[in-house]
């Protein structure tokens, strides 16, 4: 393997690694516009020029493969490279507009950052604003994206994303020289269901996201790492929020799950999670609002009449959108509270869909983030599925129902599932439903408990691959809504007379003990490795016995 020296530090890398990749691994920061780890290198911006011993001219780090013994000097230590990069930067600014004060990218703009860099930025301007080449501004590229062609640095990241990744190939350059301009074919609106990524890959303020335009200066934002709950892929995202409101959701790079991308539906799914029709207070069958202590007491009474190990059968219906931690507590409650219980999470055929692709890129047909987790926790080990439970309930098989429900954030609940849930609730004498949203088909429940929605509760999801990923809490749940873990802990406390420790770490340790596939996973690896941990023996399949029992 070639050994390369960059700014005096050495690293051994695989054949074919580029200088910029080696530098990234060493933590030597090399400025770049066009290079992107998940796009084919094109070497057009010339910002990554470095000096290499024995080479007459500076070379681009992004498109130069390392050779054994290569000695590279970045602009941090080489005056030649620094001068070259400074020259490139000056060229990039020749025709760049003076838009920073009104540009959404300000504060997270590569051009600003590089210009201010003491090692290669800053220079005397030799151009008059009056001399600049003008291009189109505020170009409407459809519902998601707005283009300002003057701010474009022609790095082609968007062009490559569109051609190589999403495959829609909707953006391209026209004209030549300093008149080059980004366009869509015949000025058509973008149809790409992944168009939002265009704004993410754009290193400057040329492509901006319509849902974020002029909303908030980026330096005011707080960020929380999370996992998208839009489907079973489990894309890694970052939630940017301000004073309890989500301003945008952007992808977080994870090479083995979503690389650097997310779909537009997932990006906007927070609009539904934090939407208007949230359930804000515990509510009895009569429609009256309850306090939490009343509500928990009533739930306990409804489910088991205050006794442990009630005879009679209970149906515990989890949700493939609930976290592993809440499913763990739901399961434990079921085991301690009832002598006979049925556990399930299937509202439709999630397990068969979990792996089914919706397109060639990321989207999957199972619109739940934690179907695999529910399977691993044993929620569908028995024969079952919603229609069977409805029939059983209508033959008085169940005395009580405890349902944890989150509506899918992408698309709506299937009419079959909604209808079946409604019938089930009506058929079971006592039904306690934890739900984040007010939904007509849940209205008949004996007791409705408001639960935190996505981004309001932390925990883990297991994606279709079997990757256990940690999703963080960015917001407080609205009204009186509480996390599913907290509500289930209250119910458990009634049974065991001891409040369980619900810290994420403790719950995860218990989870790792409970699921054989998760053994060896630790909370530390979970939160350090960009919130991902893989079960050691790889992915698990539906039908495999995942639960170790108590």
């Amino acid at each position: 393997m070639p050994l390369v020296t960059i700014d005096g530090r050495q690293i051994e890398v695989e054949q074919g690694t580029s200088v910029i990749q080696a530098a990234d691994r060493l933590g030597v920061e090399i400025p770049r516009f066009c290079y992107h780890p998940d796009l084919r290198p094109e070497g057009n911006c010339r910002m990554c020029l470095v000096e290499v011993d024995g080479y007459a001219r500076p070379v681009v780090a992004c498109a130069t493969p390392v050779a054994d013994g290569m000695v590279v000097h970045s602009p941090h230590e080489s005056a030649t490279a620094s001068q070259a990069v400074n020259g490139v930067l000056e060229f990039l600014l020749v025709n760049h507009p003076l838009d920073c004060p009104i540009c959404d990218q300000a504060g997270e703009c590569s051009l600003q950052d590089f210009y201010m860099h003491p090692d290669y930025g800053l220079h005397e301007s030799h151009v008059d604003p009056a001399e600049k080449v003008h291009k189109h501004k505020r170009v409407d590229l459809g519902p998601r994206i707005v283009l300002d062609a003057e701010r474009c640095v022609m790095c082609s990241r968007c062009v490559r994303f569109s051609a190589e990744v999403s495959g829609y190939a909707e953006v391209q350059f026209v004209r030549r020289g300093n008149r080059v301009e980004l366009v869509t074919f015949e000025d058509r609106a973008l149809e790409d269901p992944y168009a939002g990524n265009l704004a993410d890959v754009c290193p400057v303020g040329a492509l901006t996201s319509r849902d974020f335009r002029f909303k908030r200066r980026v330096w005011h934002l707080e960020s929380t790492d999370a996992i998208c709950a839009g489907c079973s892929t489990g894309c890694n995202v970052r939630i940017d929020h301000f004073k309890g409101k989500i301003e945008r959701v952007v992808p977080r790079r994870n090479p083995s799950v979503n690389r650097s991308w997310i779909c537009d539906e997932g990006r906007l799914s927070h609009e539904k999670a934090q939407g208007q029709d949230r359930l804000l207070h515990p509510r009895g069958a009569d429609g009256g609002e309850l306090s939490w202590s009343e509500a928990i007491a009533r739930a306990d009474a409804l489910l088991r009449g205050g006794r442990a190990g009630v005879p009679g059968r209970a149906l515990l219906l989890g949700s493939a959108s609930a976290t592993n931690e809440s499913l763990l507590l739901l399961r434990r409650f079921g085991e301690l509270a009832f002598t006979q219980r049925t556990m399930d999470f299937r509202l439709g055929n999630e397990p068969e869909l979990v792996d089914a692709r919706e397109d060639h890129l990321l989207r999957r047909r199972d619109k739940h983030p934690n179907t695999m987790g529910a399977i691993h926790l044993g929620f569908a080990a028995q024969e079952g599925g919603l229609p069977l439970h409805v029939r059983a309930a209508e033959h008085d098989a169940y005395a009580a129902l405890l349902l944890v429900y989150h509506p899918p954030l992408v698309g709506d609940e299937s009419p079959e599932a909604a209808g079946a849930l409604e019938r089930l609730i009506r058929a079971v004498p006592a039904s306690v439903v934890l739900t984040s949203h007010r939904l007509p088909f849940l209205e008949a429940a004996t007791l409705l408990l408001p639960v935190a929605a996505w981004a309001e509760e932390e925990g883990t999801y297991t994606n279709y691959q079997g990757a256990v990923q940690f999703t963080g809490q960015a917001l407080r749940a609205p009204g009186a809504a509480r996390s599913a873990v907290a509500i289930l802990a209250d119910l458990l406390e009634r049974v065991t007379l001891r409040r369980p420790d619900t810290s994420p770490k403790t719950l995860f340790v218990e989870l790792a003990q409970a699921v054989p596939a998760y053994q060896g996973l630790s909370f530390a690896t979970l939160s350090s490795r960009s919130a991902i941990a893989y079960p050691p023996e790889g992915r698990m399949h539906y039908g495999q016995e995942g639960f170790a029992g108590r």
Binding site: N44, V88, F91, H126, V127, E131, N178
Partner: protein, 455 residues
């Protein structure tokens, strides 16, 4: 003067296959097909033939880089884009001896084991494309090209592709992109076309004139070719001469022929009996020579290099004493600003900037420091671009300013010469590692700009 390329170009009938064949057309191909491809490569290597497209790279060596991959085709691309200002030599060959070019294509294709060849012609050569297409049809009809060329069992298909009027399509990787139906954005090398070329396959790109030399090398032998010209620049060169000469046109000269001799004899001397001022000897992409510098120069790669310029395409542009060098340079700079493909930053922005500064200079609105600004911009383009167009755009700017500086300075308004540089700018000086203005300057400047006004 010995001729290789223009032996029959005076006869308009030479475009007809039977006429050309009576004069030996395709004898070179027959000879090549009787040998192994490697033997053909060796012969061409021994001849010392160097590429006539501009860079002068040894043709045989270029071919030897091709390593056929089983199951993957090899392609030969004939570069007939000829867009370098002052260059019209390929036009001459394509127009007057299409079978010579076609024969060269077939020899090269056979040598590199290609079964498909494309002639990429600039769009403006549409009429030549017809001539060429007719030649291809005739040669195919006669069993020379197509299946089993000349009964040898070797198959070759030759097709023509017309460009749409961009200089960059002559750059080899731009040409490949264009041929693939993409925007002609040159590719970063490595990988080189010999490994990943047209449709990701091993590819050779050769200039029309380069290829037209091959029939002679095959029939007469490498030794006879090498005996022509100089030691390191064997053979002849087509020179297209234009500008202030009495008889502009295309002339074939033996390498090593004196430049001014060509100008005086073949081209009939400077027009209207004027005095020679300067010569660009290899297309606008090479440094200009003053009359004095041009005097000892020979038409070959080494002599040109010794004089600080390049033989390039052999497009020779002559300037007489009446020429305004700044205006001539502006015209050239505008060409590069117009033709820069816009892919890489230094060339995209730099060519336009140089043209902009030159324009205001020529219009009498120059600013102090403009000449140094031009040189600095050139310095920041050179060696930092994806393809050769960036470097090419710098050569005329630097050489014109260096060699005719007084003419440029004379265009600067008098106050611009007197005033310190910073006062002429629209906004104030600011601090920065590369910003030289002194402190007094900053204090006395009436126009204050924000520190990041350049953003």
């Amino acid at each position: 003067m010995p001729a290789i390329l223009t032996r029959h170009t005076d006869d308009p009938e030479q475009t007809e296959l039977d006429v050309a064949q009576r004069r030996g057309a395709y004898d070179g191909l027959r000879e090549a097909l009787s040998r192994s491809p490697d033997e053909v490569i060796a012969e061409v290597e021994a001849s010392g033939l160097r590429g006539r497209g501009g860079a002068g790279f040894p043709t045989g060596r270029k071919w030897s880089f091709i390593r056929p991959v089983p199951g993957q085709p090899v392609y030969l691309l004939c570069n007939a884009d000829e867009s370098e200002p002052g260059t019209f030599k390929d036009h001459y060959l394509l127009r007057r001896d299409p079978h010579l070019v076609l024969e060269g294509i077939a020899i090269a294709a056979y040598a590199i084991r290609a079964h498909t060849a494309y002639i990429y012609m600039r769009g403006e050569y549409a009429s030549l494309a017809e001539i060429m297409a007719k030649a291809i049809r005739e040669a195919q009809g006669a069993g020379i090209l197509g299946e089993s060329c000349l009964g040898s069992g070797y198959d070759l298909r030759v097709s023509i592709q017309l460009g749409a009027g961009a200089y960059i399509c002559g750059e080899e990787t731009g040409l490949i992109q264009s041929l693939e139906g993409k925007r002609a954005y040159p590719r970063v090398r490595p990988p080189f076309p010999a490994v990943h070329g047209f449709l990701d396959s091993p590819t050779v790109i050769n200039n029309v004139e380069t290829l037209a030399n091959l029939p002679f090398i095959m029939t007469e032998g490498a030794a006879r070719f090498a005996a022509l010209g100089t030691d390191r620049s064997p053979g002849t060169k087509l020179i297209s001469i234009s500008g202030a000469v009495a008889r502009p046109g295309v002339y074939e000269v033996e390498m090593g022929y004196p430049l001014l001799e060509l100008l005086r004899h073949e081209a009939g001397g400077v027009r209207l009996g004027r005095r020679l001022k300067a010569v660009i000897p290899g297309g606008t992409s090479v440094p200009v020579l003053t009359a004095e510098e041009a005097a000892p120069v020979m038409i070959d790669y080494e002599s040109m290099q010794a004089a600080g310029t390049l033989l390039g395409s052999g497009g020779t542009i002559v300037f007489d004493e009446g020429t305004s060098m700044p205006e001539a340079l502006l015209r050239i700079a505008e060409f590069y600003a117009h033709e820069s493909c816009g892919e890489c930053t230094p060339c995209r922005e730099g060519t336009g900037w140089m043209a902009w500064v030159l324009r205001r200079l020529v219009q009498g609105e120059g600013r102090p420091g403009d000449l140094d600004l031009l040189l600095r911009v050139g310095h920041n383009i050179e060696g930092r671009t994806i393809c050769g167009l960036g470097d090419a755009s710098v050569q005329p700017v630097r050489s014109f300013i260096q060699k005719f500086r007084e003419e440029f300075e004379a265009l600067l308004p008098r106050e611009a010469l007197a005033a310190p540089a910073w006062q002429m700018h629209g906004h104030g000086p600011r601090t920065g590692r590369f910003g030289p203005p002194g402190e007094e300057a900053a204090l006395s400047d009436p126009v204050e700009g924000p520190p990041n006004a350049a953003l």
